[in-house]
């Protein structure tokens, strides 16, 4: 019998998501800062590592930062959209 994931097993996750959605918008976006910083830091570290491998400082570091910026920006846009868009059945 294939594994079935029912609503019961997802209950804790759904409750958690619902709980987050019940927070004021400012607190829903507390994570956005961490997300931004993580993307930029990971991009920078990745770029630094690549530069260390091929000795092209600071080319890949800059590209890593730019990639981190792009991912951070896109993710922040999605997060903001989720906060700004009303939930189904809610106000």
């Amino acid at each position: 019998m294939p594994l079935q994931i029912g609503r019961d097993s997802l209950a804790p996750v759904l409750t958690g998501v619902a709980a987050i959605r019940n927070l004021p918008p400012a607190f829903q976006l507390v994570g956005i800062g961490w997300y931004f910083a993580t993307c930029i830091v990971l991009g920078t570290l990745g770029g630094l590592w690549l530069d260390g491998q091929v000795d092209t400082k600071p080319l890949f570091t800059l590209l890593g930062i730019l990639l981190g910026m792009t991912v951070a920006g896109w993710g922040a846009y999605r997060m903001l959209k989720n906060v700004m868009t009303p939930t189904r059945g809610g106000s």
Binding site: F27, F36, I40, P58, L62, I65, L66, G68
Partner: protein, 509 residues
């Protein structure tokens, strides 16, 4: 029992206080000039130029994507999503431009004015994101200081001459270069052992092939006594190049790096001067332990002010122009670079360990308007466009007649008109200056405000100032664009007759 709202407020307060009490951010280093990140074939790319390129790409990509969409006319007629937002923004801005300039002029002014507005808006907002001013290249402060000294060597040669009011002793120069040690002692944190070994080697009489080559050049082909101060630098450079010194490294050996013949050196004192406990300071006492060829006085600089140079007088008694080495004295052939570095490496005790240094960060990205070159460039660009529109509308004679007070465009007729024309010229130049400093001052001051706010209270409080800077970014971009528009409208007007026409157009809207 606290309400939810009060609970959140209390949590915020706790975070702010904990941050203020426990977390100490590094002292911000404010640099007015933009820092170079890399060079492209001799062209210096600073962090603000890099940011400007990213801003241009950020502006270009949506435009290119929209352009592809707009080729499908049916889809383009019903805008949605980003196209809708952009159209709304541009239409609102166009309405403002039309209100000020009139329908006829709005069409030709709008592309330039809107470009200035959008570029500055996106650039100012780009400068508020967290990748600015935090990620970059770090350099040891002392190594950076050396680089700064070398760059300023030429001007300081003249300062030395002015301060001493004596001519440089050419014979002493020949003697000093005839005893030079070209390899500078390591100065960065963590290089103490290497520096010790190097000094020991110098004291033991170690001579590299390059040292020997330079020494031979100045011994066999000394600089003539009659050489004037103005030609001295060239004479030194010529011999250094002949000895095999790379052209890019010539400035190492000039002015600050004029080698001195040092006598009566106490090894312990020299070691202590060079190998500090990680500090930078003036050591006048140490300087008195050295006796220098008096044609050049020892130049040191304050750790806090790299632009200052203080001239120490040689130790008392050293008043001969050409002091020969005395038997029994140790003649230590080290360059001024080395000695100078040795002295300025001593800093007031700040708790640094021996292998620690102070790093200065040169960030990869910085807000574009914090580099005065950008506001100046846009101001000049606006000036050129305003003059071009004036010429296109009024003709060359009438447009420039305004500045010399003759012809139809003269604001005041007669001889007084000439003086008024001169004032018009001053007014045009003053506009460029005011454009530049208005934008630069607001954005640069805002950035310093953000630095200070983040330095003082690491969490939360800076949010208020970020909100302010978002607003300032919009306002400054709008003001720049609107003033350009107003000056353009003024430039294409013929005078009272056209002012009445123009007022009619505004009233009609």
């Amino acid at each position: 029992m606290l309400s939810k709202r009060n609970g959140y407020l209390l949590l915020t307060l706790v975070v702010v206080v904990v941050g203020f009490a426990l977390i100490k951010a590094p002292t911000p280093h404010i640099a007015i000039a933009a820092e170079e990140i890399f060079s492209l074939g001799g062209y210096s790319v600073t962090n603000t130029i890099l940011s400007a390129w990213v801003v241009i790409i950020l502006m270009a990509i949506p435009v290119l994507l929209l352009y592809r969409r707009l080729r499908n006319v049916e889809k383009a007629l019903v805008p949605r999503g980003f196209q809708n937002v952009l159209e709304a923004l541009l239409e609102a801005f166009y309405n403002v431009v039309e209100l000020v300039a009139g329908e006829k002029n709005a069409r030709r002014f709008f592309p330039v004015v809107a470009s200035i507005f959008l570029f500055l808006l996106i650039g100012n907002w780009f400068g508020l994101f967290p990748w600015n001013n935090v990620i970059g290249v770090t350099e040891d402060e002392r190594a950076l200081y050396l680089h700064h000294l070398e760059e300023n060597s030429e001007s300081l040669l003249h300062d030395i001459h002015a301060a001493t009011e004596e001519t440089v002793s050419v014979a002493a120069l020949n003697q000093a270069f005839g005893n030079v040690a070209t390899e500078p002692i390591p100065v960065e944190a963590g290089e103490q052992d290497e520096a010790n070994a190097h000094i020991a080697d110098l004291l033991a009489g170690g001579v590299t092939p390059l040292d020997a080559s330079v020494r031979a050049e100045f011994t066999d082909n000394p600089i003539p006594e009659s050489t004037e101060l103005a030609e001295l630098e060239e004479a030194i450079e010529e011999r250094l190049l002949a000895a095999g010194i790379e052209e890019a490294e010539l400035e190492h050996y000039l002015v600050f790096n004029l080698p001195l013949g040092v006598t009566q050196v106490d090894e312990t004192e020299l070691s202590a001067a060079v190998i500090s406990s990680g500090g930078l300071d003036l050591i006048p006492i140490r300087a008195e332990n050295f006796e220098f060829d008096p044609f050049v006085e020892l130049i040191v600089a304050d750790a806090g002010g790299f632009n200052d140079a203080r001239i120490f007088k040689p130790a008392d008694g050293a008043d001969d122009d050409n002091r020969p080495a005395v038997a029994g004295e140790l003649n230590l052939p080290i360059t001024v670079n080395t000695v100078h570095v040795g002295i300025v490496l001593k800093r007031a005790d700040d708790g640094l360990a021996d292998d620690e240094g102070i790093g200065l960060i040169f960030p990869f990205f910085r807000s574009i308007a914090t580099d005065i070159n950008l506001p100046l460039a846009i101001a000049l660009w606006a000036f050129i466009w305003v003059q071009w529109w004036g010429i296109r509308t009024l003709g060359v004679g009438t447009n420039f007649g305004r500045f010399i007070g003759v012809g139809d465009a003269a604001l005041v007729k007669g001889p007084v008109g000439f003086m008024v024309g001169l004032l018009e010229i001053i007014s045009e130049v003053a506009r460029i200056v005011s454009f530049t400093f208005r934008l630069f001052g607001n954005i640069f001051a805002g950035e310093i405000l953000l630095f200070m706010a983040s330095f003082l209270v690491p969490f939360m409080v800076a949010t208020v100032f970020y909100g302010l800077e978002v607003f300032v970014g919009v306002i400054q971009a709008f003001v720049f664009a609107m003033l350009t528009l107003v000056f353009a409208v003024t430039a294409v007007s013929h005078g009272a007759h056209d002012d009445e026409e123009h007022e009619g157009e505004i009233a009609a809207h």
